[in-house]
């Protein structure tokens, strides 16, 4: 499909809710305090597998202020939920450490927490297995990986091509479990009144939460309102309905009073998903000019016994480089661990770490510049599907980034530059993220006095959704963005998909553009306006239902300069520069923030974020923000994001691609490649902590 030429100037409009956020008046899910509100505290399982044999609540109920204790014995019975992680307090089974087994509800948070400490729980323990290995006996090949991607794709004969290749790379990379840890813990405030359930939930998409609650509680969706007005980040962990919404609703139903429930930070890792650890074998075969003949990317990862989630880490290898022979495979094993799920760029973030590290290894083996190696392997069409790209800006990003970064002065020799005690190096990696879009509805209204209002159940998780939707509507209506009111964040508004998969702006924006365009046409016919104004509605089912004949992806290039302390092994990122080709950038100010924010999270993935699973304890070892190290301000020096304007007519009326995730893709590889350039040490396991580097520096 060809859409008309995009006209969006990408004005750097200030985000609408900025004033509310800097004055503390923006309301998040736990900021509400309905009259008579009770507070709930969850009690997590302290065994990794087994069942709850007894919960003695006498002491807990004796704590002043404790109202009630919910367990599988007395909690409201749910219908089978749409996600098995929501089946909380339904039976005695403990599928993993941290599974919620009780909820203490009290007049104050302090009383609820004290009551939780007075709850006596007994378990029957089962043997458990929480350790992923590349030869785990439970490994199997799933039907699909996350995103509906086939688990296996094969073109040509990889083994033969590898055997015949002049140059080969065969390397295995490992990534640890990573946690989303949005700054806002998952929270819900639930009220049942007159048969209607209202939940203020910390979610990336309240339409989906309402569906989940309707199914779990056996209710007509019309009897449920879910509000997510302001959301303190999610990064995927709030993209699916999480147990706080169910628990708060259960507690409110049980007590007949409003209930506020916030997962304590140390419980989040167990109940809101994580990026699963991976073991990735990458094999590349190339001729002496660096032209790839074979690409093989094999993933081993884990899921839980509760549900199957397979990190699609081999999928980017189906998109990135031309090669006549290719094999991409995912295998997974179900362990007694918390359920993995989406974390910013699932698949791409972990997979591109391995693929782009392997490309750097290949460049070293060939004595070829790593930028040049990538340019030599640009495909004519998408390698896996053979479809033409709607636009592919990778080469432009690499060239532009190299010029901005000063790449061409680079001395390729490893471990050849030192400034005092600092070993200096630079590295590059490519980035990619697919263009996704979902059906959305929206409405546009012009009041008789001329006031314009857009309504769509979009969610602003920090992207600036209100602002960019106002810009899109304003463009269609021929007015200033300030003239358009935008209402989002409630299921009382037209149904819309979640903020996820870097698809929010495309999905909501398309419906908003359609509704606003229709309104503009109606306004041109109606003067004066009728007393109740004019309303138009839009549904993009048809537009988004068509499968594009094009392969549609955003691309990017990341360049990193690192300094490695020769004495301690500490890695500092001195410079990080990203260049992106992501269609039309609709708001330069908020887009830059999203790009650089992704890059910052990539620094964490590369250097600081580290969470193992203790085989004896049976759970994650780093469950709070003192032990799980997200990047801090001092970890971020010179970070720049730039972009290349793309005029791609095969996307949506705005001409935009998603920008929320690509910033993290390849960033860890660029940093790892820079560390290798600085030190000569090729580490194949993230994060690059001082203890892992020191042995190579002595």
């Amino acid at each position: 499909m060809t859409t008309r030429a995009p006209q969006f100037p990408g004005a750097p409009v200030v985000r609408r809710e900025a004033r509310d956020k800097v004055t503390g008046t923006a309301r998040y899910a736990a900021d509400l305090a309905p009259a008579g509100c009770l507070y709930a505290w969850t009690v997590p399982a302290t065994v990794a597998a087994g069942r709850v044999t007894a919960v003695r609540a006498v002491d807990a109920l004796a704590v002043p202020g404790v109202h009630s204790v919910l367990t599988h014995d007395n909690a409201p019975e749910l219908q089978e939920p749409d996600d098995p992680i929501l089946a909380v307090l339904q039976d005695d089974r403990v599928p993993h450490h941290g599974w919620p087994i009780a909820l203490v509800i009290a007049e104050s948070l302090e009383a609820a927490r004290t009551g939780a400490g007075e709850l006596h729980v007994e378990y029957e323990r089962d043997p458990y297995d929480v350790t992923l290995t590349d030869d785990h006996p439970g490994l199997y090949t799933p039907e699909e990986a996350n995103g509906g991607h086939p688990a296996v794709r094969v073109r040509g004969d990889v083994e033969r091509a590898l055997a015949g290749a002049s140059v080969q790379v065969d390397a295995t990379y490992r990534t640890v479990a990573l946690h989303n840890h949005p700054m806002e813990p998952h929270a819900a405030t639930a009220v049942w009144a007159d048969g209607h359930l209202t939940v203020h939930d910390s979610s990336q998409g309240s339409s989906r939460v309402r569906e989940s609650l309707a199914r779990a509680f056996g209710l007509d969706p019309d009897r449920i309102t879910v509000v997510s007005e302001h959301v303190g980040g999610g990064f995927g962990s709030k993209g699916t309905t999480r147990p706080q919404a169910v628990l708060a609703a259960m507690a409110a139903r049980h007590t007949g009073r409003p209930v506020k429930m916030v997962f304590p930070r140390p419980q989040l890792a167990e109940v809101v998903g994580h990026r699963a650890p991976t073991i990735q074998r990458v094999r590349l075969g190339a001729d002496l000019d660096g032209v790839l003949t074979a690409v093989s990317h094999e993933i081993v990862t884990q899921t839980s016994t509760v549900k199957e989630f397979v990190e699609q880490a081999a999928v980017p290898a189906r998109v990135m480089y031309a090669s006549p022979h290719s094999r991409t495979v995912h295998r997974v094993t179900a362990l007694d661990v918390p359920s993995p799920s989406w974390m910013r760029a699932p698949g791409e973030a972990s997979g591109m770490y391995a693929l782009e590290s392997a490309m750097d290894e290949l460049a070293s083996a060939l004595g070829l510049d790593p930028v040049e190696l990538r340019l030599r392997n640009e495909p004519e069409t998408e390698p896996d599907s053979g479809r033409p790209f709607s636009s592919r800006g990778l080469a432009a990003c690499l060239r532009d980034g190299a010029a901005r970064f000063g790449w061409h002065d680079r001395d390729p020799r490893p471990a050849a530059r030192q400034e005092g005690r600092w070993l200096m190096g630079t590295g590059v990696a490519s980035a990619t993220y697919p263009v996704l879009v979902s059906r959305s509805t929206a409405s546009a209204h012009a009041a008789r006095d001329g006031a314009l209002r857009i309504a769509v159940n979009a969610t602003d998780i920090g992207t600036g959704a209100r602002t960019v939707l106002a810009q899109i509507a304003a463009e269609a209506l021929g007015v200033d963005p300030e003239a358009v009111r935008v209402d989002i964040g409630s299921t009382d508004l037209p149904v819309a998909p979640l903020a996820g998969g870097s698809s929010g702006t495309a999905s909501w924006g398309w419906a908003v553009h359609k509704a606003a365009t229709a309104l503009a046409a109606r306004l041109a016919e109606h003067r004066p306006l009728p007393a109740d104004g004019i309303t138009t509605t839009a549904d993009t089912e048809e537009e988004t239902g068509e499968e594009s004949p094009y392969a549609r992806h955003a691309f990017g290039a990341h360049f990193a300069e690192t300094a490695v302390d020769a004495v301690t092994g500490e890695v500092r990122v001195r410079r990080l520069l990203g260049v992106y080709a992501a269609g039309r950038i609709l708001n330069a100010r908020t887009a830059r923030s999203q790009f650089t924010g992704g890059m910052v999270m990539g620094i964490g993935m590369a250097l600081t974020e580290d969470c193992g699973i203790d085989p004896d304890f049976g759970d994650f070892t780093a469950r709070d923000l003192a032990s799980y190290h997200v990047p801090v301000c001092a970890d971020t020096a010179d970070i720049q994001a730039h972009w290349i304007e793309e005029d791609d007519r095969h996307l949506n009326p705005m001409g935009s691609k998603g920008i929320g995730e690509i910033g993290i893709v390849g960033t860890a590889a660029a940093i790892g490649n820079a560390v290798r350039h600085a030190t000569g040490a090729r580490l194949r396991e993230l994060p690059l902590t001082p203890d892992t580097l020191l042995p190579y520096l002595l």
Binding site: G24, T25, A26, S593, V630
Partner: protein
């Protein structure tokens, strides 16, 4: 609650029903109220005063989202018990603006887009206000060279700002913009 329970004879007796009356001067107004001895300043601000600008990101003093100014200094309000703050002067993010006129730090955060989801933002802003005063008072940081320490106000370059703001986590990664915003205020 915890698998590392001590055993019944070693468990401390929980403080379950003790209350005291304290007076807190919050954003300029003195208020006398009765607080549960277990209640933090953060919980008191949010649940008793309805001042929900300060956020609970971790409840352990690890993230800084609850940062407020107590007697002019920045603190993690989740680590202070309200009962111990009788007479304290507390400024929250809601108390920084002068009527409709934003505090210079608030204005700079808006102009630089130094926020995304906004959850850490009240803490970042209170922290920045406290940090600017600490530097003016000559407090050194890890980034302060030994030759400049204790000789009056510390000049804040980007490294100093980054170091001094590192107690406030931002998972959206707004740090580069936060540093720019604070630099704008200093200029």
């Amino acid at each position: 609650m915890d698998s590392l329970a001590l055993g019944a004879d070693l468990e401390p007796e929980p403080v379950v029903d003790e209350h005291s009356t304290v007076t807190l001067h919050v954003n300029g107004d003195p208020t006398t109220l009765t607080v549960d001895h277990r209640t933090t300043v953060l919980e008191t601000l949010r649940e008793s005063f309805g001042l929900t600008g300060a956020k609970k990101g971790c409840d352990h003093g690890q993230c800084g989202a609850c940062t407020v100014l107590v007697d002019g200094r920045r603190v993690n309000s989740c680590l202070l018990l309200a009962v111990a703050q009788d007479g304290a002067t507390i400024t929250t993010v809601e108390g920084l603006a002068d009527g409709e006129s934003l505090h210079p730090v608030q204005r700079a955060f808006v102009e630089r887009d130094a926020l995304q989801c906004g959850f850490c933002t009240p803490g970042q802003i209170c922290s920045a206000v406290g940090m600017l005063r600490e530097a003016a008072d000559g407090h050194p940081s890890h980034a302060t060279g030994p030759e400049t320490a204790a000789t009056g106000p510390v000049a804040l370059d980007a490294d100093e700002i980054r170091e001094r703001m590192s107690g406030n986590l931002c998972r959206c990664g707004a740090y580069p913009r936060i540093v720019e915003a604070i630099e704008d205020v200093i200029e």
